[in-house]
């Protein structure tokens, strides 16, 4: 039975449960609502939950883990001589073959009898699994319905029970945030540890040479690949630095003007227009950087006799800076507005001009918040992917020259993982090592920045 039919049946049963529960409660109350503990609808929900929830849980668990269980069973059914002496990659290849044949994606003719038998066994198990699941879910739903029906009496505290379930659902939804973080950390750590089993962390973090090409044949030149990530870190820092050199002055001055000088009408129009910059997808910035900014900078460089790479760090950095301007400006704007008016009035009272007040009173008072905003912006710049994928280079050059092509951590992650991957090569796994570094660095920046901003807010609240 297909999943959609099963779910439809469950929904129908729950609906039936709702009406059954409600009318049952009304019957039990003898037609007098006042005899009931809860409003009749709650008895309906009570029955509906009993009909739907246990069965739904079973379905969710099976869809998450059923495939793995079936695969493991099929694997253990393979004859010992077919499995013996296979490397992990050959094992996964064999399993993929079996799955393809079972799914009808590969012609059965050219496959070995072992694979064919296993595929048939796989189909057999899946069939059993599907029917067993349907039977189990159905009986759970009917059983739940029957149980709820037997429990419904006027004194049943249906509302409290339903609310407890809803409350639990709400908690589960908020736990998704923690689960996501745990998922990120686990997946990065797990694959990164496998990577560090092949390449030592010291070489990865401090090595100066990056060329992740691993050879197909063992005797090929440069077959080992080099995984020294320092050029990537340097490139990321260079591009982020250029971006911050654009974004911080422009963003900060814009925020100061908007918070201190601009009349309300100007502020009301300019602020949302600036926010548009933050809403433009990064792929658009990447296109702009690669096709407009980079040729512009190259031509300008050639005009003054400089040799500019066509994928210069400068182009990517400047465009990234433009992207981050609204980020810096809106965060600093909030921070500057949070500085109490009494500080300004004090400065004005001493005869300071507006700009003197801003430079000597408001900005120093707002400094922690501004630092927090800049840190958040830096974390944003480090993690930005599309602009650098489209406008920065692929070759890992260790240079501080903004006119040369450099590559970044995110570019490497993206290029290593786009296209076909084998999950046992150091090349693919290195992306997760880089991801771990990226996640750790941005996490630290974010935590520090959020702390600083929060502390600062408390100070003036």
């Amino acid at each position: 039975m297909p999943m959609s039919v099963l779910v439809a049946v469950l929904v129908a049963l729950s609906l039936a449960g709702f009406y059954m529960g409600r009318s049952r409660a009304l019957d039990a109350a003898g037609g007098r609502m006042a005899n009931l503990h809860s409003v009749p609808g709650y008895y309906g929900f009570y029955a509906a939950i009993w009909a739907g929830l246990p069965a739904l849980l079973v379905i969710v668990v099976w869809s998450a883990f059923g495939g793995a269980v079936v695969n493991a069973l099929v694997w253990s059914s393979l004859p010992a001589d077919a499995v013996q002496g296979l490397s992990p990659s050959q094992q996964s290849l064999l399993m993929t073959n079996i799955l393809n044949v079972a799914g009808g994606n590969a012609g059965a003719a050219e496959t070995s009898p072992v694979v064919r038998a296993a595929a048939e066994y796989h189909q057999h198990l899946r069939g059993i699994g599907r029917w067993a699941l349907a039977a189990l879910a159905f009986s759970l739903a009917v059983g739940g319905l029957w149980y709820a029906r037997s429990r419904i009496t006027p004194s049943l505290r249906a509302r409290n029970q339903v609310e407890r379930v809803v409350q639990a659902l709400l908690i589960m939804c908020s736990l998704v945030a923690i689960l996501t973080t745990v998922g990120i950390v686990m997946s990065l750590l797990f694959e990164a540890i496998r990577f560090f089993g092949r390449v030592s962390p010291v070489e990865f973090l401090f090595g100066l040479h990056w060329s992740p090409q691993t050879a197909i044949r063992a005797d090929q030149v440069g077959s080992s690949g080099a995984f020294g990530a320092v050029p990537l870190f340097a490139g990321t820092i260079l591009i982020s630095l250029i971006a911050m050199l654009v974004a911080v002055p422009v963003g900060l001055l814009a925020a100061v003007y908007m918070a201190e000088y601009a009349p309300p009408r100007v502020r009301a129009t300019v602020k949302p227009v600036l926010e548009i910059l933050a809403g433009i997808p990064t792929v658009v910035y990447g296109f702009f950087a690669a096709l407009t900014m980079a040729p512009l900078i190259r031509d300008a460089g050639q005009a003054v006799g400089l040799n500019v790479a066509s994928e210069s760090a400068l182009a990517a950095g400047v465009v990234m800076g433009i992207m981050i301007i609204p980020f810096v400006s809106s965060l600093s704007d909030d921070v500057i507005n949070a500085v109490p008016q009494s500080l300004r009035d004090g400065a004005y009272g001493l005869g300071a001009t507006r700009s003197e007040t801003i430079k000597q009173v408001v900005l120093p008072a707002a400094l922690p918040g501004i630092v927090g905003a800049v840190l958040l912006a830096v974390s944003r710049a480090i993690g930005e992917t599309m602009i650098v994928v489209m406008a920065a280079g692929l070759a890992a050059n260790l240079t501080a020259n903004p006119l040369a092509a450099v590559t970044t951590v995110t570019v490497q992650i993206a290029t290593l993982l786009v296209g076909d991957q084998e999950f046992d090569s150091a090349k693919t796994l290195s992306a997760f090592g880089l991801g771990l570094v990226l996640f750790t660095v941005t996490l630290c920046l974010n935590v520090i920045a959020l702390r600083v901003v929060q502390k600062y807010r408390e100070k003036y609240d």
Partner: protein, 436 residues
């Protein structure tokens, strides 16, 4: 004592020339500082204008495309010599020959084999497919003469649009002098017409710029965003409600809060790594599928939705809650009957902004294999699909000049959707926002 010093002077300090000078300097500094601010804003707005302007300037021409009006003879001898009208035979026929025959009859000096090929290259490779489709849809065309509009090749299109100069020496352009002469001949006859480019919206991806369209990307985006919406909205609202209305102040809720704030700032590519490692490798979900893309984007926008939801729940004044509690509602009833409906416009604004964010996101999708060459629009949640921004990314990588134009046009379509979504959010806020 200062008083003494001041009174010693003939004029008060605020009338000295030095004072004047200092004051002028301070006012000049004030003016300069103000100008810096204006310059910064001007620079940012100027950049925005340049960015949008360059996209529009490069892309608006892609909404029109040149077609060649050609009288084609649907030659029975060429299409279906036996006269079986069998669809298999019709599908096999060489429609290129029909187009070349038609071209030969209108162009001067296009008789030789070599010239026929060169003339045929004026048309898109898709022209033959379109002729084939016409015949298969309506076999009665065979044996008749019809004037049909066929797409020209991207090089011809670019030349006609003026994106490639005709004055270039022959070696520097892809159109030969002979072809150029033909083009001018056809132009003079008025057979080259510029039409609204419907193929941009009705075709899937293609290696030929003149045939490439956004349909697959648009549908893929739609399917993916549907999954995102279905997952992120209920979970996001539920989490916001719990954290704002029910959560006791303890370690766990603190942890959840810190997590949400941090997740909002995690680079999006990391979510792609999560999707790759957990959904594809661990759970074995299909690559390139809108289902996986939707789940990853849902996790990505969840913090946005939760934060916006909490803000608008917080804006509902406590008096509403107290009044409801006072007449005997349970805490859940207070939320579902009163607080949530009142906070809904604000929550929906947050949801729309989150969805706009998801629509423009590219990096995590690269990780889960949504960079695929998709010709046929996906029909289900597990089909291979791509999304609009990824389509833009792939087109931007293509070397043909015509793809630059297409990419810009695709960006305009994407920005159009984003503007529409944000405008909806603004309208919602303006229309339903309540000041308590």
């Amino acid at each position: 004592m200062t008083d003494a010093v001041v009174s010693d002077r003939a004029v008060p300090v605020y009338q000295t020339a030095e004072f004047e000078r200092r004051l002028r300097r301070r006012y000049a500094a004030e003016k300069r500082f103000r100008l810096y601010g204006i310059a910064a804003i001007g620079l940012a707005l100027g950049m925005l204008a340049v960015l949008l302007g360059s996209v529009v300037a490069k892309g608006y021409t892609a909404f029109w495309q040149h077609e060649l009006r050609l009288e084609v003879f649907f030659d029975p001898a060429e299409i279906d010599p036996q006269g079986t009208r069998d669809p298999a035979v019709l599908a096999q026929a060489n429609y290129n020959t029909l187009a070349r025959n038609a071209l030969q009859s209108v162009l001067t000096d296009a008789g030789s084999r070599d010239a026929r090929r060169a003339a045929g290259d004026l048309l898109s490779v898709g022209a033959a497919f379109e002729l084939g489709r016409m015949v298969m849809d309506d076999p009665s065309l065979i044996g008749t003469r019809r004037v049909v509009s066929l797409p020209v090749s991207d090089e011809v299109d670019q030349l006609l649009k003026g994106n490639v100069s005709r004055a270039l020496p022959e070696a520097d352009r892809q159109i030969t002098d002979r072809q150029l002469a033909w083009i001018e001949q056809l132009e003079a006859k008025g057979d080259l017409v510029s039409r609204f480019n419907t193929r941009l919206f009705t075709n899937g991806d293609s290696r030929e710029p003149e045939l490439a369209g956004l349909k697959a990307g648009l549908l893929g985006s739609m399917l993916t965003l549907f999954v995102t919406l279905v997952l992120a909205v209920p979970v996001g609202i539920a989490a916001a409600v719990y954290l704002e209305e029910f959560a006791p102040k303890n370690r766990l809720t603190d942890l959840i809060e810190v997590n949400i704030n941090n997740l909002a700032a995690v680079p999006s590519i990391v979510f792609g790594l999560l999707g790759l490692a957990v959904f594809l490798n661990f759970f074995g979900m299909p690559r390139s599928a809108p289902l996986v893309g939707g789940v990853v984007l849902a996790l990505l926008v969840l913090p946005t939705i939760i934060i916006a939801g909490r803000a608008s729940l917080k804006a509902v004044p406590p008096s509403i809650r107290e009044a409801a509690l006072g007449i005997g509602a349970s805490r859940l009833q207070v939320v579902t009957h009163h607080v949530l409906p009142l906070a809904m416009p604000g929550i929906m604004t947050g949801v729309i902004i989150g969805m706009a964010h998801a629509l423009g996101e590219t990096a995590p999708l690269l990780m889960i294999g949504m960079v695929a060459f998709i010709v046929d629009a996906p029909s289900g949640f597990t089909d291979a699909a791509t999304m609009l921004p990824v389509q833009i990314f792939m087109w931007a990588d293509s070397p043909e000049r015509a793809f630059t134009e297409r990419t810009s046009a695709a960006i305009m379509v994407l920005l159009g959707f984003l503007i529409a979504m944000n405008a909806l959010a603004v309208i919602l806020r303006k229309r339903f926002e309540r000041r308590w």
